[in-house]
């Protein structure tokens, strides 16, 4: 019952990862009793499960996911939202307005207009239909302040860290509120733009070095050093 790579080795589509009594995990496919990689990434053998942590992958909606999207079109009974997925998402007017929707009286563009950002949840999605969004829960709705950044969706778990360790450190050190959309879009809201920039920098670094170890410590270090630098430049007498 062989496997053909060592854990955390780079694999490319078509690489034979395992043969025999194994379970095919993320970014793999099966032919007979052979498991192959379907994306470029690092292979991971977790007991009998074979996964590939992809270098890059696009977001495919799942019911319950929290995503951050942009309104692209105001329609007759709702809005089309870009959630950075192969499919555009729909947000129904009835979901947003707390009362019944009257097309003659209600001007949808006054509620949400093209270019607005929202935090939403995937309410439904299947092969035959575009994803439907809902904003009818606390914490969801139009975004009014903060910075938006985008990383490849496969790296979001790394930004969260084991049991939330990574994201807690960033929030702590920068004092920012951070919403991580499963679709790779991230909202950072801080007390000032400099704090927000720190968080952006940290997340970018995580995206680039996601496959390395000791990252949590390095990020903590980086944030502490950056803050010290900032303090120093503030206290420097201006000549």
């Amino acid at each position: 019952m062989p496997t053909f790579f060592e854990g955390r080795q780079l694999v490319t589509p078509g690489d034979l990862l395992a043969e025999g009594d194994y379970i095919a995990g993320d970014n793999t496919y099966v032919e007979g009793n052979k498991i192959y990689a379907s994306r470029v990434g690092l292979v991971d053998y977790e007991n009998k499960k074979v996964n590939v942590v992809a270098l890059k992958a696009f977001y495919i909606p799942k019911v319950g996911d929290i995503v951050i999207g942009t309104i692209v079109e105001v329609g007759f009974s709702g809005w089309t939202v870009d959630i950075k997925a192969p499919y555009g998402a729909l947000l129904r007017a009835s979901d947003v307005l707390s009362r019944p929707f009257k097309p003659q009286n209600d001007e949808l563009s006054q509620v949400l207009n093209a270019g607005d950002l929202i935090v939403a949840k995937i309410a439904s999605y299947d092969r035959a239909h575009d994803p439907q969004l809902t904003v009818g829960e606390p914490g969801l709705g139009k975004i009014t302040r903060g910075q938006i950044m985008r990383i490849t969706p496969t790296k979001i778990p790394r930004v969260i860290g084991r049991k939330g360790s990574m994201i807690s450190i960033i929030k702590q050190e920068t004092g920012c509120q951070i919403i991580l959309g499963v679709n790779g879009v991230i909202l950072i809201t801080g007390k000032n733009p400099e704090d927000e920039e720190l968080a952006v920098m940290a997340i970018r670094r995580i995206e680039e070095e996601s496959h390395t170890s000791g990252l949590t410590d390095r990020i903590t270090q980086m944030l502490k050093e950056a803050k010290v630098k900032r303090e120093e430049s503030k206290n420097e007498p201006k000549n």
Partner: protein
């Protein structure tokens, strides 16, 4: 400019550019070089310089172009006007139309076409400089662009041509060898699955010569496949080095 070339293989058995019959031209590949594309790759093979970009999966506009049960793959092979000796009109030629089709058909077997219905993937290949074997180099680059875009694939696709010049079966023909030689056999392969996804031929070959040419082209494909995999490995290594 239009000197008639008589001998393509000299007394030592070497070709016009000094290569042995079973030798590839120097190949250089890079991925992720276009910021706006979902995936991209650049290849230099001999004097060929080719750029490939992949977009998608994404919704098609107008919607009626999409299929309800599968993805649509579109491919455009295009040569820049300055890519060849005599300026080529930018309008798509019949050759470019045919090559766009065969390149698309060489890549589609590698893609899980039923996975994302009602979407499309667009592949654009731009030949910046041409010196024979552009369709093969294009396929090699396009498949990397697809993988770079994170599109799930069964295997990478790699392509290489073999042919006959001066009575000898040779690998990876350059333009002069293609024009003056006796036959050209481009082959595209999914190496792990041993599946041929492109096969064309023009010229005159006996059955034995044809079999030899296909064998040689496939051997060439496998060499280039190793280079395709190296490109991704190098991308990771370079990130590791920054950390150290």
């Amino acid at each position: 400019m239009n000197q008639k070339i008589e001998k393509l293989i000299d007394k030592k058995g070497l070709r016009l550019d000094g290569r042995k019959p079973d030798e590839l031209r120097p190949v250089k590949i890079d991925v992720g070089i276009l910021a706006n594309a979902d995936g991209s790759a650049y290849i230099e093979q001999g004097k060929n310089k080719i750029l490939a970009a992949a977009f998608g999966p994404r919704e098609l506009h107008p919607k009626h172009l999409s299929l309800s049960d599968r993805m649509v793959l579109r491919c455009r092979y295009h040569m820049a006007p300055f890519s060849v000796q005599e300026r080529k009109s930018p309008a798509p030629s019949r050759r470019e139309v045919e090559l766009s089709k065969v390149i698309r058909e060489s890549l589609e077997p590698a893609i899980f076409i039923e996975q994302y219905p009602r979407t499309g993937i667009d592949i654009f290949v731009e030949v910046l400089q041409a010196d024979g074997g552009t369709r093969c180099a294009s396929i090699t680059a396009a498949s990397l662009a697809l993988a770079d875009a994170g599109i799930p694939m069964r295997d990478l696709v790699v392509a290489c041509a073999a042919g006959k010049v001066d009575g000898t079966i040779v690998l990876d023909l350059m333009d002069t060898e293609d024009k003056v030689g006796v036959a050209d056999v481009p082959v595209a392969l999914m190496p792990n699955l041993n599946a041929i996804t492109l096969l064309q031929m023009d010229g005159i070959l006996t059955l034995e010569e044809f079999e030899k040419a296909v064998d040689l082209a496939i051997a060439g494909c496998r060499k280039i496949y190793a280079m395709q995999k190296e490109v991704f490995k190098n991308k990771y290594v370079s990130i590791r080095e920054v950390e150290e």
